[in-house]
Amino acid sequence: MNNKNSLLIVDDEAIVRDSLSKWFREDGYTIGLAENAAAALRQLQAGHWDVILLDIKMPGMDGMELQQRIREIEPSATIIFITAHASVDTAVQALKNGAFDYVTKPIDPDHLSHLVANALKQRALSNENLQLKERFTEFFKGDEIIGDSPQMKKVFDLIQTVAATDTTVMIRGESGSGKELIARAIHSNSQRKYFPIVTVNCGALAEGILESELFGHERGAFTGAQYRRKGKIELSDGGTLFLDEVGNIDMKTQMDLLRVLETKQFTRVGGNDIIKVDFRIICATNKDIEKAITDGSFREDLYYRLNVFTIVVPPIRERKTDIPILANYFMRKYAQTMGRAITGISPDAMDVLVRYDWPGNVRELENAIERAMVVGKPPAIQMDDLPFQLTEKKKKSRTGSLSDMERDHIEGILEQNNWNISRSAEVLQIDRVTLYNKIGKYGLKKGS
């Protein structure tokens, strides 16, 4: 076993140094010897040692004091104390100061071999963990928040500013604008990045279920609660709780949530035990919360708790310069995942993409590119591959009224289905007669 690991043996007794060095040399370790603290410190400054075997009682600076000095030079040093003078107090103190273990001479050879092997294994795992954390950090630097527009540069600055703090953040923006990605970017650049970010989609859950989802429940708390369940708040301990669509939370849960935010403690539904938690809140909404406060459907005190630092994600129509960057990014992403040889977007198709207003924002753009990657042919996405056709008429007709939107939508579906009435009616989930009536009402014609 030609071992690449190194051991530094620090002991004032030559016979102990010799015995240990012989023993470990047969395992192939690189051995360093030091007869006192000064020699040990010289060895540490000269090179790196995987494990340090340290005698406690030595003339001059003793092992305990030397341990402190070693930590100053190499904080991650793995130290095993070896002593002839066993005392529980000393052992406890050594372990409190961060020693890996403590053994008394004479040592069982099997114990010593396993001890050093375990120390090395733990050290290797710690190193691997650090490397993975580094890689994890690098990975999140290149996440999917893409944009070069002044608006997005401002958003990036805000993320950078707020990430380092523990402040509650409210992210506002239209549906599909990437609010969750912003929340993840804040979390992954924060001190809490090694703990989870737990997402709760408040809009998707009914009143009672949301309460249980957030706070968890005890066994028998309600019909069907057969087991104790931890809530999302408990799961986010140490990390970040991301409340998506926070504007949709019912009044009772708003009150409970406010209490948790103020006290950082709660009880599970049907439980009495107080659970303390440490988490950061990031919330997102596409609703006009101020209007909801006026209407009385959102608590003003909760609003002030949540709205400490606001990041507004601009809709894609307000940052058209980002559309080509995003479109090309999604094109490359799907080319890779689908294994397609499409390497570009034709100028006509790109023009359509830039001119379109994208009511569904980045999510809609991504879906459009994904679809185009499926139906398109290499080497580039063409205008016909896109799921819509922009016409001047459509643009002009967009006044925002319900009837205009209905007409645009019906016209779009008819065009997508090549004016096949049965198929279009099926997509629209109306009968054919109703569709004919709508076509007549809005004066829609094929090719107009």
Binding site: M1, N2, N3, E13, I15, V16, D18, S19, L20, K22, W23, R25, E26, D27, G28, I82, K105, P106, I107, D108, P109, D110, L112, S113
Partner: protein
């Protein structure tokens, strides 16, 4: 013969029992092994507190006695061996050196409250002799479970391994021998 391996019997074991070890040692190391009677002053290495014998002190005595005679030697003793920092050792060797020592004390079944088994004792001793001699040939402990060079801190572990080195360790011995022959001009 300069390159012979001397198995020096300073134990109570009969020469006829140890003769079975000569052949495997010769085969593994590629040098003729010779069994010789020997005596050792073990009393000088006795530790009254531990009631054990310091193997390093005994090894020093062996080296002093053998002077400059060539080859490698391993001395078989019956006493309980230790090195100061450990509770016991089965044996000790001079790494890439000339001498080693091995004890039958903890290889005997009776030590563990089991019935006497001379065949098992000789088998264990054979493995430990090859193991310690392996260190004198510059071999480190091996990770292969059945290799004779695997580190054993329990007698059960000795029973699990074979009396021969794994191919990689055997190859190391071959290389050592080739280097030695080259240096001594036998195979220039």
């Amino acid at each position: 013969m300069t390159n012979a391996i001397h198995i020096l019997n300073a134990s109570v074991l009969a020469a006829v029992d140890l003769m079975t070890i000569v052949r495997p040692v010769t085969d593994v190391f590629g040098h003729p092994a010779e069994l010789e009677p020997a005596s050792l002053n073990v009393a000088m290495a006795y530790d009254n507190t531990r009631r054990q014998y310091n193997s390093t002190a005994l090894l020093a005595q062996i080296l002093k006695r053998r002077g400059t005679s060539g080859g490698k030697s391993i001395t078989v003793v019956d006493v309980d061996l230790y090195i100061p920092v450990l509770t016991f050792v089965f044996g000790e060797a001079q790494f890439s050196g000339e001498a080693a020592i091995v004890s039958t004390h903890r290889l005997r079944n009776q030590f563990y409250g089991m019935p006497r088994n001379d065949g098992l004792l000789v088998g264990r001793l054979s493995k430990e002799i090859i193991h310690e001699l392996g260190h004198t040939f510059g071999l480190y402990h091996c990770r292969q479970f059945e290799c004779v060079m695997r580190s054993s801190t329990y007698v059960e572990e000795i029973d699990l391994k074979h009396a021969v080195p794994c191919p990689a360790c055997q190859d190391m011995i071959r290389k050592q021998n080739n280097t030695q022959e080259y240096l001594t001009g036998k195979n220039p």
